[in-house]
Each structure stands twice: as structure tokens, then as C-alpha cells.
Assembly symmetry: C2
Homo-oligomer: 327 residues x 2
């Protein structure tokens, strides 16, 4: 998914130059894992959304790069600590920090990244820094809450669909929404536009996560870039799973449950069987319908923005890419 | 060590009321360990120093309590993550968070505490929030650097005395100094006074850590509240140890080294033997002399403050308590 082609290369250039200086900062053992994590790639969606939102209201973007960098730092901090909590060994094809360095490195360098995010944010030239800081810290805390719910849901027997949607709102959507709103706030956009961009971000963020769940089951391994069926093998309580439980016949539900309970299984067999239940029960259709609903809500928010229609095109395309994406 | 008797109870009251609301916040499993950590006690030195510094320039202190709470949150966050990294099982007589709850709880609730500190700080009613945020985030990062050096020194064969002093400046002194300076900044004190209070904090912070090292060897178990000789048993490279290596005769140095190398030993025997070397080599005297030097430098900074002499008395007493303290 390549978005906002003009902003991505310039952000990447500034990020890489920043990382070269971070990498040389003492103590090296603290800062090297920070640079390693950020150099590992990623789509840079959040910082680019921040810069794009600002560009809708001003052409002076240079001053907003520290904030864009702050958002990317924070996002990567959450991945780093989440990977340690989830015992994940690989991220973007590379060993995770707690594996490559040590668990203590992962804890402490992650802590440093979170703090650095706030430090970069404080470099922003903005008259209303209190609002920016309040929004960013509230969002950061919500992301922690999302991760907490995600971990709890794995231990729980049952999860309600509204609970699941709230979890992905917190874990995924709020940071996308916050990126857009900070961009708009920094560019001193009208208050209502800030809120509309936030709404757009929430809705597109939830659609993004639903598409992620969908791709994990129905994606093409070659284009998706990671193994298909991971969520099924790990018995993740995704929307597809929760909806299938709701829509299935008693018989199908007990088959689904027996796959969940099975300690040893052939992965492909389980993935195929569960995928069939998702499809036959209508859970797949319901997932795509819900995604469309959130996508439409995002577009409605976009429509109300007080900017020329032509300026909305890129966010409109972005929203389309989110639901159409194959990786 | 009881300081600033009028500020401590009012801070404690506000903190406890804040904790009651934190404890009831969902998800409970995220916020309960936060309240547990902060309820565990502690001397509340940093928030009280912040409030006291502000009180030197204004009588309207209510508005500064969120900042004081932010500092206490951040300090306790560092203890929580440090305890996990150091595999410490007990803190203030209670099980540490990674033992009582889980390692994932310790990581995530710690992360939340660090973010909450920034959130409380953003509630401060201050015209120059950028300066406050820049100072606090810089300090927070320095504390991480200090912890990194501390962990590295345990693995290294040799550590230079200036390296050790820099480590304790980062790990201990900067947060004390930052507390005082934020208090002064919030109260719109003259710029030079902010810097002098920061200097006072750095010097008294280093003296505080040297006294801590000293108490670990020469303290009285009943009044110090923790086991004497912990640093000796763990071969911690404290100032006492580094100075003893420097001042000892070759013979004594090799005896000290052989105690370090010994994998199995009687704790009391090792503590007594190493303590004797510290005393005989003059390392104990050198520690007290260095502490006095930092204490004097702190008092010099205090002398230059542009406030009435009588208003300096409490910080003067505090400085005296730091070097005289037995717990």
C-alpha cells in the first residue's frame, strides 16, 4: 500500500538522517535497538497521515516533521513491547529486539522510544501545545488499554462483538485518528475539521483492522507477505470468529469449538475447515459488510471537511486502499 | 527522613484520592498495578521538592499538584521496570509487580505509568509548557540512560570513578533536580533561580546516592530498613568499591578481588572483610569527603537564590538530612 507518494520519501529521508544521529548517541546499547526497530521498515502510514492532514491547511510542512517522527517512534515502541509480551520472534522479517538483543534491552530501549516520542512532540512549534500533548498522551494510554484488552481476550472464554470492536478502536484506530488530528491542529485548521479528520481516522482504522483480520484468512500469502491462517491457528478471537459463532448452526458451532479445543492439529486442515465455516456461516460476508459500513462513515466525515473537494481525493483514495488492500 | 512537613500530608491526600479513581478505571488489570505501585509508600521526595520549589515563589500551590503527581508517577514507573530488569522480588516490603501480577503486567502497566506522567504534566496551567515538557522528557531519557549504564557496569570488568558519578547523576540526581526546576518554572520564578535550584538538585542528588552506597555498608539494619551489605554481596561497583580499588595496597586489592571472584561465601564474612578494606584503605573517608563536597556545592547554589534567607532554611535542612540520614 503506497500512499501520499510525495510525502513518504521526504519523511523517510528525514527519518533515516535522524536515525543515524540516534544510532551514534551514548549509551549505544540503549539507542542502537531504537534505530534497529525504526530502520526495519513499515509503511509509515501514521506520520504520513499527520503530514498530509497538515498539508490540507498549510504548505509549510518542515516544522511538522518532529511530530510525524514522534508518532512513528511511538507506534514502533508499541510494536517492540507488544512483541515481547506476545513472545513474537520475528517482525518485518527480522528478529525482534528481545531476541536480537535481550529482554532488558527490549524493556529499556522501548521505554526510551516512548519518552523520545514525547520529546520530539515538545519540539513542535505550536501555540496550543497543551492540546497536542493532552491528545497524544490520552491516545497513547488508550493504545495501552487496547493491548491490555487484547491480552485479556486471549484468556477469556467469550468476548462480545462490541468488546472486540472497542479493543481494535483502542489498539489500532485511535493512533491513526490522533495522527490526522495532530496534523490538523498543528496547521491551525478549524476545530470542526480537526474533529472530522479524527472521525475519519477512527472509522478507517477500524476498517483497516477488520481488513487485516480478513486478509489473515482470505489473503494471498504471496501478496500479504505473511503466513495465512495465523489467527486461526492461535485461536484469536477476531471479528470473523466471533461472528461465525453467532451465525453458525449448533452443529457448525460445535465443529468450530472442537477445532479450537484441539491441542494438536494439521495447520492447513484446521485453516481450511475454519475458513469454510467462516464462509458458510456468512461471517465473511458480515465482515466485509461491516468494513464497508466503517469505510462509508469515514467518507461521510471526509465529505463534511471544509476544504475543496479536490483536496479530499488523496484521503478518499487512501480509504479505498485500506478496504481494497491485499497486503 | 521527613521533609517539608506541611506539604507531604496534603500531597499524600491528593495522591491517595487520585489513586482511588485510577484503581477503578477500566481495564482494571492495567490500572490496578499502577495504584498498587504508588500505594506502596515511598518518601515522596520528588513531588514534595517540586511543590516546595514552587512555594518559594507563589502561595497558589493547588494548580501544581498534577505536575507533582506526574513526577511521582514517573519515578515509580522507573522503579517498576528496573525491578523487573534486575529480577528484584521485593520493593518497600511488598512483592514487585512482575511477581505479584505478571511480567506482561509489569511491562504494560509500567508503560501506562510513564505515559500517565506526561498526561498529568499536560494538565499544568503554564504559559511555557514547551519548556516544561522539554525538560521533563530530556530528564526522563537521562534516567533511562542512567539505568542502561548501571546495567552495563555490572557486566564490565572495570569502571572509572567519573563514569560512576555520571551514572548516578543520570539515574538519581537529574530527576530530583528536574522536580525542583519544574516547581520553579511553574511558579514563574526568575530564570537564574530555576537554574540554581536545578544545580542544588544535581549536587544533593549525587550526595544522596553516595550516602545510599555508604548506608549499604555502614548503616544500621534496624534504622536503614533493609539488609546491610547487599551491594557487597552483589559485587556492585559503588564509589566505595571503586575508591577502595584505587587506594588499596596491592595486597589488599588482591584480597578484595578474591572476595569478588568467590562464587560461594558466607555473607557476613564477606561483608565484614570488604567493609574492613573500605575503611582501612580510606575509601570510606573519601566517600564522606566527596559527599561533603557535593553537599557544599548544593549549599552554594542555595546561597545564590534571589529569595529571603529564611525561605532557604527548609532546603538547607533537607540537604543536611540527606548527608546525615540513617535510612
Amino acid at each position: 500500500m503506497i500512499i501520499f507518494q510525495n510525502l513518504l520519501p521526504s519523511f523517510e529521508r528525514i527519518l533515516q538522517s535522524e536515525l543515524r544521529s540516534i544510532q551514534r548517541t551514548e549509551p549505544l546499547q540503549l539507542y542502537e535497538p531504537v534505530a534497529y526497530t525504526l530502520q526495519g521498515g513499515g509503511k509509515r502510514i501514521r506520520p504520513v497521515l499527520l503530514l498530509h492532514a497538515a498539508s490540507l491547511f498549510t504548505h509549510q510542512l518542515e516544522q511538522f516533521y518532529p511530530a510525524a517522527f514522534a508518532i512513528e517512534l511511538f507506534h514502533n515502541f508499541t510494536l517492540l513491547h507488544d512483541d515481547m509480551m506476545d513472545h513474537a520472534g520475528i517482525r518485518r522479517g527480522l528478529p525482534t529486539v528481545h531476541i536480537k538483543y535481550s529482554e532488558n534491552s527490549a524493556i529499556l530501549s522501548g521505554d526510551a522510544m516512548s519518552i523520545m516520542a514525547f520529546r520530539y512532540l515538545s519540539k513542535c512549534n505550536c501555540i496550543d501545545l497543551a492540546t497536542i500533548f493532552d491528545l497524544f498522551s490520552t491516545t497513547a494510554l488508550e493504545v495501552c488499554e487496547g493491548q491490555q484488552y487484547d491480552m485479556e481476550f486471549e484468556q477469556r472464554d467469550s468476548v462480545l462483538i462490541p468488546e472486540y470492536l472497542e479493543m481494535i478502536r483502542l489498539k489500532t484506530a485511535v493512533l491513526l485518528a490522533c495522527s490526522l488530528k495532530i496534523g490538523a491542529l498543528l496547521a491551525s485548521s478549524p476545530k470542526r475539521d480537526c474533529e472530522l479528520l479524527y472521525d475519519f481516522g477512527i472509522n478507517i482504522g477500524i476498517a483497516f483492522q477488520l481488513q487485516d483480520d480478513w486478509l489473515d484468512v482470505y489473503g494471498d500469502e504471496n501478496t500479504f507477505g505473511k503466513k495465512i491462517g495465523g489467527d486461526i491457528c492461535e485461536n484469536k478471537k477476531t471479528f470473523l470468529y466471533l461472528k461465525a459463532l453467532e451465525l453458525s448452526t449448533d452443529k457448525k458451532r460445535s465443529i468450530l469449538q472442537s477445532w479450537i479445543d484441539l491441542k494438536e492439529f494439521d495447520a492447513n486442515q484446521k485453516i481450511n475447515a475454519v475458513r469454510d465455516i467462516y464462509t458458510e456461516s456468512g461471517a465473511e460476508k458480515a465482515t466485509r459488510a461491516l468494513m464497508t459500513k466503517y469505510h462509508n462513515q469515514a467518507i461521510e466525515a471526509l465529505d463534511q471537511l471544509s476544504i475543496p473537494k479536490s483536496d479530499k481525493l488523496e484521503l478518499q483514495n487512501f480509504a479505498q486502499t485500506v478496504v481494497d488492500r491485499v497486503k
